[in-house]
Symmetry: C2
Subunit: 658 residues, 2 copies
């Protein structure tokens, strides 16, 4: 990996005037004529599911194509039966005036009704007796009852469903004219990128980044009804990029996307390349993520320069590529279901930027609560974990807490209704619980946010979760959680359920190079600590142990650097930037680090009584009590399930006193 | 086509005890163990979109895999910058204490922060000057910020989305274990069926029916996440069906479906075949459509005997095959969005049957109104036209008009919000209008129901449509619609817009074999008429003409047989069951019939003022006024567009008088 000297060797290309999202999209859509697109093709009807009609479908045949018997019985001319009755039955000769038919048979000539076999008395092979008259067309499916030849079945731009296949085939139409799928070329750029599908690739080397955006964009293109070609990675060289773009522009594509290099840095060559080969329409959009997007035209083809951060590139795709593609397909704008949510915390936003804030959404009590996910455009998990997106317009400084806001849903609303929201301390067994729940009850999900044990109790207090994970040590009596619940949730009836007992200790690099023995070493000058955030049970544990060992926190290097999860602490140790952190054995084991046990502590689920008595929680608790769950927990190491599932109830303080 | 003598040659196999739907489904799901299914396979991550994880995905690498620069600038050790300021700037040597980096570069060893290039003063190639300190980790994406190696990314049974592809690849996982798609064998049965894909097929012969259900079921299988094999058509022979079933049961499938022959008729061999080879679990379910379904087991494999009517087979698929397949895939039950609708008319239902009533749904005024579609199980268009399904339980005799009922949506709710509901007289140009609207405004649709002109005015009165198509002749003054609007909608402000002028006349077989000249002939003894329903403008026209010609309607053969559309009248003439009907030229032309013009009449759109002043109607009227629409209408023949689009406003009667 070369660290060039961009400040000296190349000029930075500043953004042209940045455009608001709506204006940028308008410029794009107006620049490319709406008729332009991938043309049409004929496909066999069964293959046409999901495709869009380019011309109306007109019935060639009627359905039924002939008068058909709708019952098993005998076909008759209704007029022959008029006047007959139980007292005056009539006899009809079989094969002449009475013809046996089954459901679906063509009505024989001269007949216009069917008498159900149950109402026919069979005298012998040649004669039947009838005791009631039948009206014309009784038990007959008349020609054209369903479809009349020449009628229009579906208008153009209609999307073919499996049901449509039945109607179109029944109308004698076996192939239909549909819009071709838009063909999209995706060109990933960047010296740092490596192609994991290349035969040369074996393992990531320092400085290398896996090319993932091209595959994500390809999948998004297919979901939007298109097909894609993924170009080999293009290096950060203007000539290379121009050559790739020029070839793509002549390659029969309907849309070209570059990925990365669309910003204003010294190695961002999308803008100069498009400028040289065609026209830059927009460079920079006041949206976030997705700001460094470029919209251009090479030879009449739309060129989208997509940002390199994964969330940015997805947002830019959805805001620019999707509208282009849906219009090529004659489809209305894609829309997501919108719901009203209540943000659990204020969501600030920068004036002048339209922000797409990813949120987790939970149905807690009456309404939907939304909790912000990390906003970094590099965090793809902020999208995969998200249930919805809150858009904050340019002119807004953000969304206040608890006030209603609108979120676009990324999952069906019943998915959200069936999600158990856990907020609080992080523990690796929550992942096992999530997997076991999804395995045993596929319609249920767990959403868990890690804000520390005290944060979890506050989330219960604020009504934004169903339950909290907590391991708050009462240093006075060695109990866990009970006294904190009493203090922070005095008026609530709470069920406290043990999830696991777990080992907490010092996480140190493999081989323990600095020979750390225990808490007493943390005062050493040659050590740097990574701490956990205030309010986390682990932080309380550490502070308690430091006090017991009479170590001044201010004397510890790194005491003020905080991480939010055990795994983040372990990562910090692994990366070599710190020497030690406090965490659980499972985190050390997962990353191959050494572990010096300090204590076994109690990790509980704290559940308000009103949520405890619900069907969802019944299922969750049943899963916790399965041997399978406990066995998987024990396999992690550092866990003890001897008390898993044990419950105690804390009645409100005032009731307790009375 | 053989008309055998089922009453004599074979015994009818009566239904075993019919089961309610819920019980039948329970029997099916409990009979087949939930673990059974198609197994798992590993697939490349980009190919895994839409697939279901069979095992949780655990991150192999962290993302970012190293500390990365989040900005273009210089990487420094933050400690080196402490204490500097504008008055006390510091200089750092390039390449040693200050390393140029671009966004995405790995942080060089010894550095822990990035200063944006804009805040760096470049002295020369070897030195830079800094005027403000930087905190550790500023402008750095720390290792594991997005994903931490060993953490669980997605639990099993999670469905892979395009977003997930980004997260899984970034975590260094390139293939995932997913559940195999259920393999389904579809065996269409029936002597009357023909395979349009067979090289022998050229055109449907009398008695033949196109095999369409197999293709529909195949498309539904794919939509439910499975793959299918379509078996050649099997004749109505027990040995043939048994051979096909036995081969399929040993063919590596997860589910076998026969189509047709599942009922209790003499040529229905599904039951005896399954009885011989395995076990019949359920035969007959109290649901409609879908009653003659059979659920069975051959060698531990689920066998579904699907009814032959297209709507029945789809309903049986959705109620039995989908739950089996979703369970094989570890997915929650499929659910459709439910909405509250108001039926425009009473929907009666038979006690003891769970009915699936297909309805059109429109947003008219505040709420959603639902209008029943044809209930015949043979009418596939009752599903393709449907916006939703109202389920009427076994114990109910139906749904009253105007009372709220629950409908499952078959289309997104915004589709329904953007649908213009037209009720009233039928005219072929409405199909052209629908196609042109969908072409020029893809997000909009037209739903049209044909209940005659007066029915349309009643629909306006009852608030169940946006507008009505009407051609009601005032026989007193020769005007159209105005006096009827005055009479039936006296208190409403109404806009009357001409859609077309059209020729009405007598539709007769090609060559006019009975030499019909005009209305006067209708009294002839040798002629049979097909009539239109009361309240239709065409019926009023006919009655008026009969009166003018002093013909007694009771003297006309067939006067009491009514059809609801011009096309149905034309079909009756084409099929030879009648000699003449009254209708529009377009209908005669469409089916190649002869036409004897009677009058040119005025076909108007009748629009309440409150709907006229909406964006949707603006678009519709713009389409009506396009040359394209008018040209296509004229091409049909028998139409005159000289007054198309002309509007007049009828104020409420009381306002007019005041």
């Amino acid at each position: 990996m070369e660290n060039k000297n961009p400040g000296m060797t190349a000029s930075r290309n500043v953004y042209l005037q940045m455009k608001p999202l709506a204006e940028a999209r308008r410029i794009l859509l107006e620049h490319f004529p709406s008729q332009a697109g991938p043309g049409t093709e004929f496909v066999s009807v069964p293959e046409a599911v999901g495709r869009i009609l380019a011309a109306p479908v007109t019935a060639r045949l009627s359905s039924p194509p002939f008068h058909l018997a709708a019952m098993d019985g005998i076909a008759v001319a209704a007029a022959d039966t008029f006047g007959c009755s139980e007292v005056q039955p009539i006899e009809l000769p079989v094969g002449d005036k009475a013809v046996y038919v089954n459901t679906g048979h063509v009505l024989p000539p001269g007949t216009d009704a069917v008498i159900m076999i149950e109402h026919v008395e069979i005298i012998d092979q040649t004669r039947v007796r009838i005791e009631a008259p039948v009206f014309p067309w009784r038990n007959v499916r008349k020609i054209g009852e369903d479809i009349v030849a020449t009628e229009q079945l579906f208008p153009r731009n209609h999307r073919i469903t499996p049901y449509c296949v039945g109607a179109i085939l029944a109308a004698g139409v076996f192939s239909v004219e549909v819009r071709c799928r838009p063909r999209v070329m995706i060109i990933p750029t960047g010296n740092e990128l490596v192609d994991w599908q290349s035969p040369q690739f074996s393992e990531l080397e320092p400085g290398q980044v896996l090319e993932t955006n091209g595959h994500v964009l390809g999948a998004l293109v297919e979901a939007a009804g298109g097909t894609f070609t993924l170009h080999p990675i293009v290096g950060d060289r203007l000539d290379e990029l121009k050559a790739a773009l020029a070839a793509a522009a002549g390659g029969g594509f309907d849309l070209i996307m570059t990925v990365g290099g669309s910003s204003a840095g010294s190695e961002d060559y999308t803008k100069p390349a498009v400028q040289d080969l065609g026209e830059v329409l927009v460079h920079g959009v006041t949206m976030m993520p997705g700001k460094p997007v470029l919209l251009g035209d090479i030879g009449g083809l739309p060129i989208l320069g997509m940002p390199g951060y994964p969330v940015s590139t997805i947002m830019a795709f959805e805001q620019f590529a999707v509208p282009l593609m849906t219009r090529m397909l004659g489809q209305p704008d894609a829309r997501r279901q919108e719901v009203t949510v209540h943000p659990t915390r204020k969501i600030p936003s920068r004036l002048g930027l339209e922000e797409f804030v990813r949120v987790k959404i939970g149905r807690v009590g009456e309404g939907l609560v939304a909790t912000q996910l990390p906003r970094a455009a590099g965090c793809i998990t902020s999208l995969t974990e998200a249930d919805g997106i809150i858009r904050i317009p340019n002119h807004s400084e953000g969304v206040p807490a608890h006030k209603p806001a609108t979120a676009e849903l990324l999952r069906p609303s019943h998915f959200i209704d069936n999600t158990i929201v856990i907020v609080g301390s992080h523990d690796n067994t929550l992942d096992i619980l999530r997997d076991e729940l999804k395995s045993q009850a596929p319609d249920m999900s767990i959403s868990s946010s890690h804000v520390g044990s005290l944060g979890g109790l506050m989330a219960i207090k604020n009504g934004v979760c169903h339950l909290a994970g907590s391991h708050l040590l009462d240093t006075a009596d060695g109990s866990y959680n009970r006294s904190y619940i009493r203090r922070y949730l005095p008026d609530r009836e709470i069920v406290q359920i043990n999830l696991v007992l777990r080992d907490q200790g010092l996480i140190v690099p493999k081989g323990n190079p600095k020979e750390i023995q225990g808490i007493a070493d943390l005062g050493r000058d040659d050590l740097t600590l990574i701490n956990r955030q205030s309010g986390s049970g682990t932080r309380i544990l550490l502070d308690y142990e430091l006090m017991r060992h009479q170590i001044d926190p201010r004397a510890i290097n790194g005491y003020s650097d905080e991480e939010y999860t055990h795994m983040a602490v372990a990562v910090a140790v692994l990366s070599g930037t710190v020497d030690v952190g406090v965490g659980i054995f499972a985190a050390a084991k997962a990353l191959g680090l050494d572990f010096i046990p300090l204590v076994q502590e109690q990790y509980d689920l704290i559940i308000p009584a009103e949520h405890f008595k619900t069907a969802h929680l019944d299922i969750l608790l049943a899963v916790i009590n399965t041997t399978r769950f406990k066995n998987r927990v024990v396999e992690l190491g550092g866990y003890d399930t001897s008390r898993t599932g044990r419950a105690s109830i804390l009645t409100p303080a005032d009731q307790e006193n009375s």
